[in-house]
């Protein structure tokens, strides 16, 4: 998966979480728990050679840790739209939830 696609997926997960819980909380969790730093969602950029599986899993777990299963489902709903991009990238556990 290229960096641009990964950034798109991350932006969308954060955006969806922001719609539900508010931008402030969504940003804080992504910053502190998943180590994704940004000021606005459109500016999210990831370092080169970021492990896609690591960043996606970290994001899902971060939100789930605070808001439980419902927020996990929101992440999966985003990933469903990018099935072809993530198929060889994310873990089987995640893949099984988005099939």
């Amino acid at each position: 998966m290229n960096k641009s696609n990964l950034e798109t997926i991350v932006k969308e997960i954060v955006q969806q979480q922001s719609d539900v819980m508010g931008f402030g909380l969504a940003k804080m969790i992504a910053n502190k728990k998943a180590n994704i730093e940004f000021e606005s969602i459109s500016e999210i950029t990831l370092p080169d050679n970021t492990d896609p599986n690591l960043v996606i899993t970290s994001l899902i777990e971060s939100y789930q840790h605070v808001f439980g299963e419902p927020s996990k489902q929101v992440c999966y709903d985003v990933l469903k739209k990018y099935k072809s991009e993530i198929v060889n990238v994310v873990s089987e556990a995640i893949l099984s939830k988005v099939q």
Binding site: V20, M21, V66, F67, G68, E69, P70, V74
Partner: protein, 427 residues
Amino acid sequence: MKDNTAQQHIPSQFITEEIYKRNKELVEERRRIEQLLLNISDAVFVVNKDFKITLANIVAKNIFPTFTITQDDSTDIHNVLKLINEKTNEPIDIKKQCFTGKDKEILYDTSYTDDKGEKKYFILKTSTIQYDENNSECLITLSDITKQKLSERAKDDFLSVAAHELRTPLTIIKSYLWRLASKGSATLDSDQKANVTRIQSATERLINLVNDILNISRFEQGRLVFEISKYHAEEILKQSITGLELKAQDNNIYLHINTSNVKGTNIYVDKDKLVEIMFNIIGNAIKFTKKGGITVQADKVDKDFIKVSVIDTGVGISKEDMTSLFKKFGRLDNSYTTVAESGGTGLGLFIVKMYIERMGGKIGVHSDGVGKGSTFWFTLSTKPIKGISDKSSTNTIVPTGNKLNAFKTTGIISKKDYEKSKVNTIV
């Protein structure tokens, strides 16, 4: 005492998850509504009590592309929705359409001219939505009826041209018929004279119909000029029925007028239109009254209007017929009048209603039923009429043929009356 501490404790994680779930449902619902709004074919605005736009759909943004919804809801609807009321030709004040206390307001004839000078026509509807005691918004929708309007205009233009073209040959027919009736009367036998009378009568009706159609067409195109002046109500009402007393007499019925209740009152009317109104209404009353007669009664309604009632002892009107009376070609069912008696163009009352409403009044009818007479009433303004400029034009309007009816009784008219009618029909 039982220790209920364990039972009362609700895990915070559970609370957080439930709140998250609820928020998610609300977000999905909002998205659903936004999609619905997006796909409505009408332009939709929502404004708050300060008339700032809080929501607008894509159609609204396409029609009024110069505005954007700001984050702080500070765009005033008045800066965006610059609509004209097509009936009065005045700008529409949205304040008077929203938060009126009524659930809905509808304005049928509104228009908007964009930056390119292109005019669009809409039906404007507003609904006040009360969320709670202190919170309400107004939903404004604009249904685009431009296509229908332009199509109606094209039809009206065609009708106008067709009617105009018909008048010349009709006037020629009428003049030769008159010649036949007057100069040839010595040589025509009684059958032939009767036939000439029938043809004259039919020609008269055709001319009246053409004139009526033309007047309606001009009115609907906004080209009919109203010359409003102040008149003494008593005087002008009595003057307006001149000629009709004779007609009533010829039909062996009475025509009385009572204006004592409006003594000293002034009204604002177009004199010629008032004459036409009276000729139409009283002319109909004479037509449909075989015995007894007609009373014209004028009364004050309030400080702004007088009411004129034309009360007859004629054939009366059924409830079913009342609904179509003021429509184009609406007329009484001929089952209790002969075709010749009912006559008319079917446009007279429609034109009367048009005139009265344009002069700020209202019109109505009451009857207790068939055989029980009827009362036609209308109101006239005692105050200057808003929206009508008091100007005359060289583009004079052809009066309807009703004035001709006042002269014509038997179908063969005198040369003097014919000369008068000729002036009225050729433009």
